[in-house]
Each structure stands twice: as structure tokens, then as C-alpha cells.
Amino acid sequence: MYRYDEYDQAIVDARVDEFRDQVTRRLSGAMTEDQFKPLRLMNGLYLQLHAYMLRIAVPYGTLDSRQMRLLAHIARKYDRGYGHFTTRQNIQFNWIRLSDAPDILAELATAQMHAIQTSGNCIRNISSDQFAGAAADEVADPRPVAELIRQWSTFHPEFSYLPRKFKIAVIAADEDRAAMRLHDIGLKLVRRPNEQGGDLGAEVYVGGGMGRTPMIAPLIKDFVPLGELMGYLEAALRVYNRYGRRDNIYKARIKILLHEIGADAYREQVEAEWVAVRDQGIDPPAAELERIAAMFAGPAFDPAAPDAVDRSDPDFAVWLDQNVRAHKAPGHAIVTISLKPVGGIPGDATADQIDLMADLAQAHSFDELRVTHAQNIVLPHVRKDALYGVWQALRDAGLAEPNLDLIGDIIACPGLDYCSLANARSIPLAQKISRRFAGRERELGELKLKISGCINACGHHHAGHIGILGVDRKGTENYQLLLGGSGAEDVSLGKITGPGFDEDGVVDAIARVTDRYLAERTSGERFLDTYRRLGMAPFKEAIYG
């Protein structure tokens, strides 16, 4: 993974000093809250329902055991002993004091971590595929490109006061494991012959997103060679910074700009801007991408690692089949650690659990972990002969729920229990659903259920096979049910079933939906497939009669 050199470290250290200065001036009254808010947001510090919340960046979801242990330490020292992993591969702490924030950032900097641009109207954490570097289907590891973009976008002087937040995702396989099409800019690395001799470049999708007006990003540029990608992104962002709407926060994302002027007009403007910036030397030389890529070359996998796994423990076998995926190297496997115990809070982990995951990564995954956008943790490189021991350790720590991509693997935003933007609570609903279907997950099969506590859609409910949106209905919590969304390469946006429900009502509605699915499915069909085959009508009828 990426290791800072003296320049990266100097930049992050200067940022700590800058934020300390800003906090001092805020606390003294030299700065108003209005002046301070964008600055603290650009350091990941929200003022939430109960306290300040700090969102720490996990660049493209990758971290090592040392960094994981530091997060556990921060949870204990500065927070209440736990952290929350997010749908953008970051981690959040909910009980932070402003007066501690500079010290926390200083501690993070000692382990090459930061909270830079994890909020605010700027370019956010670059997300990527949680199986990068381990999956056989990628054309290349997408993370070096993500790192290149991270550096280009950090404190970008022209793009720090955009109309709204800006989210970029990078993948490198046909299977989209990062919901790439639902980002402001989605990049898919592909191989194609070109005049430069080298053949790696990106398909560029612009204008995806969820929220009040969900949209799937159209293809804007069919192929940009990697050596020209930063310049192209510069042009793409400049058009947005100049012409994105600033009059209405619900119409300020780039997806609205594309929708209003049309993808063709946007594409033309970017091309024109690209001509203008071409001579500015924005693109780093190939040597820089090579330097970064060398750090992602990956461990030396033992070619003699045995392929066989002893399945005689039935509980282990269930977990093996559900949470363990094939690795590109024989004798190895990709492990997903579920942070969704039955009845638990999705995405939360205690400091002790975080330490345990660090230990397992160090001992069994070449010291690497990933955070997934489904709020789970991945050990990307585990020897098959170590799987049983890893599972036992996870089981003893409550981290071995075998529910990857099943109905219990719920994505949920923190909701009204934590978030000042929310209209309804999402976590108690997730807990109820989880308990209601406990024991039936495998019967139902792949079923990605996502809950957002408000229209900002941090729970990605539009991309759920079953999605739930919390709304405020005359002062009480109410829930809309959506069906048929997908954030994978078969991307689609969920459709609302009809009138909303209270908390127990939506759980019952989901039970009726799944019963109908079981009655109608043909062999091998996931819920999503049955829904796509039959349409909304039979499910609507099952719910409402």
C-alpha cells in the first residue's frame, strides 16, 4: 500500500498545524461559526446531534494494522470506545470534542492518516474496490490511480469551494464492487491500444449520485489514457465549479448540471476546457504513477500454499461459503468480516474488535485490511490453511456472522440516533429487520437491503435491492419502501412501492415482499432477478393487498 515520503508527511503535518490554528481562532472568537464551519468540514469535523463527529479518511478503503490500532486507540482515548465504518470506506467517531480535534489529527499524522476533505464542498475520499489487488478479474489494481487522484485533489486550490461535495470512485473490473456509476465521477480502468504505446486508461462516467434526485452516471469519455487523466479531471471539475448551481443545495451536484445542460453539452465543455489546460503541466509524469504502483505490487504469495480447506466444522463451512471469496493467487482467499451481527448496529466496531482485526490482518493478511462501502471489513490476502483459525477468532469476537450480501448484511446510515440531518431513525429498523429474518438469510439468498434516515441517502437506499427511506410525516417517523435498486454493474434505481409505513409496518411489508419472492422465484433467481422479471405489480399487491 501507499507509504508517505517526506513530502506527503510534511503536507499532513502542516495541515495539522493549520487546523490547530483555526480551532484556536474559533475558540477565541476570532472566527464565527459561519466562517469556521467550511474549514472544520474540510477536516472531517461535523457538529452532529450529540457532539462533534470526526470522519477519518481511509483512502480507497485501505489501511494496515498499525493504522487500525491507532483508530482503536482514538476510540478509547477520545471517544466512547467504538467507531463506525461508513458507506464511503471511512470511519467516524461520534463523541469528539472540538478542543481535542487538533491533537487527534496530530496523532493520526504519525501513522500517515488524516481527516482531510472527508466533508465539505470539495473532492472527497476517492473510493475503490475492496477486493483490489486480490481479485482475479481486475485489469490492474485501481488504487494507484486512486492515490494519484487523491494527491491531485488534496487542497486543490481551484476546487476547494465547489457548489457541493464531489465523490469519485475508481474500479478496474467488469464487476462493479464500488457502486461506481452512482458517483459524481466514476472511473473504470480498461486496457486499450493507443498511440502512446501503453494501454491503460479510464472510461469516464460523470453525473451519478443518489439523494433527492438519484441518477446513474452516463459515459462522458470513452477512453482517457492514464497519463492524461488528471488534466481531464481538472477540466471536468472546472466546468462544474464554474457552472454548477449555487442557488439551491438540492440542485447543486454535478448530476443536476448534466441533467440541465445535457451530457453532450457537458462533454463538449469539458473537451474545450481540456484544450485550455493541456499546456499547464497538470499531469504528473509516468514515473510518478510507476512509483505509486510499485507500492501496490502486492505480497509474494506462497505458490505452495495448500488449496484444500477442512470443512468438517459445519458453522465454519457456512461462513466459508458465504463470506470467503476466491483470490487470484492459488491457496489464498479474500475474507469479509461482517460488522452486521444479528440485531447489531451496522458498521459499528468496538475498540477491542478493531484491535482484533488489526492482529488478524498482521498475522494472516500481509498486514492489510479494507473497508467496504457496505460497512464491512475485508482481509484481502488470507492463506486458505489459516481460514479456520481466523474464523474462530472472529467468531469469539462476534465478527463471524456469515451474512455477506444477505438480508442481514444491512447498509444503514446512522440516522436520527446520531445525525442532525435525519428525519427518522435507521438503526432500530435495521435491528428489527435483522432479528426478524435471522435464520432465514440463506433461504432468501442475495438480498442487499439499504436504509437511509433521510433523503441525503447516505445509506444508499436507491441502490438497494430493497431500500428504505426514513421520512418525517407530520412529526412522526415514517418509512418509504423501494424495490429493485442495484449499485453493481447492473446498476438501477429502486422504485417506491406506495404509501409509507411506521417502523413495524415496514418490517411486515418486507416480510410480505420476501414471501412473494419465495413463492414466485425460479431456480437460481435472486430477489432482484425475480423483481426485474415480474415488475412491481405482484409485490405491490402482496404489500398493500
Binding site: A30, I282, E288
Partner: protein
């Protein structure tokens, strides 16, 4: 803060990073500028297109870019566009200009500042001196880190 250009007690406080004398012609609107072939100073509102000035770059000596709110980042692109096009005259950020935006504004090419509220000079100096390294090239003279790495 101190009034380095001696403009007088009622004049707006100006922070300036140029060796030449402050331009004394008032900045006119973009529309007026287009209609006056001898004007040398123009004011761009946040939504104005900086590229409209490109045909007149040679005679321009002062471009003032309005920041109605420090959160409105359009002025940064206006500055970048003008510097990329070769504009070497005074490029001034005016309005809701605060200490913490000065470093980024300098990077995109602003070399003078007319904030509507006085700035803390010490805080401004700290802000401007803080970063030794920058990740990306911009209109300023900063060498991007990747060039230091590879020459």
C-alpha cells in the same frame, strides 16, 4: 490591519503582493469594459465569464474578482483561467475574503486582496507561510511534489 498603501482611512484595506504601484483607475463592470476600448480595470462578478476578457488581456492592468460569499468558489476558476491565458496584471480578490482562503487564492494567481472586513495580519502571515509543499501545479511558482520526486 495596517494600511500599507496609504489609501486613507476611508478606503478599503488592501493587501497587495506586487512590486508595482497600485492601479488607480476604478474597475468597471464587464459590460462597461466591453464598451470602453480604453478601460484598463474591470470587475468580474462571481457568475461572469473570465474568458470574455481574453481578447483584451494586453490592455488589462487590474482585474477585480468578486467573492460575494467566501463559500462561492467561482472566483478561483476565474483567476486560474486568466493566469493560464497569460494575464500578468493585478488580480484582486474582493469581498468576503478571509484569512483562511488566502493561501489557495494566492495559488490560483490572486496577488491582491480587498477584504470587506479587516484581516488579522499575523494570522494571514502564518497562513501564507505554512505550507512548504504542494501536490499540484497552479498559477503560482510552487513546484508540485511530483516534480520534486522526479525532477
Amino acid at each position: 490591519m495596517a494600511d500599507p498603501d496609504g489609501n486613507g482611512a476611508d478606503a478599503p484595506t488592501l493587501l497587495r503582493f506586487r512590486d508595482d504601484d497600485a492601479h488607480d483607475e476604478p474597475a468597471v463592470t464587464l459590460d462597461a469594459f466591453a464598451a470602453q476600448p480604453d478601460a484598463t480595470a474591470v470587475r468580474l462578478e462571481a457568475g461572469d465569464d473570465a474568458r470574455a476578457l481574453l481578447p483584451a488581456l494586453a490592455r488589462l492592468q487590474l482585474v477585480e474578482v468578486s467573492f460575494p460569499s467566501f463559500r462561492d468558489g467561482r472566483g478561483y476558476s476565474a483567476a486560474a483561467v486568466l493566469r493560464e491565458a497569460g494575464y500578468r496584471g493585478e488580480l484582486r480578490a474582493a469581498g468576503d475574503v478571509l484569512v483562511d482562503q488566502l493561501p489557495l487564492m494566492r495559488r490560483v494567481g490572486f496577488d491582491s486582496f480587498a477584504p470587506e472586513a479587516p484581516l488579522d495580519a499575523e494570522a494571514a502571515r502564518r497562513a501564507l507561510d505554512r505550507y512548504d509543499h504542494r501536490y499540484q501545479p497552479a498559477a503560482d511558482a510552487a513546484v508540485p511534489v511530483w516534480r520534486r520526486r522526479h525532477g
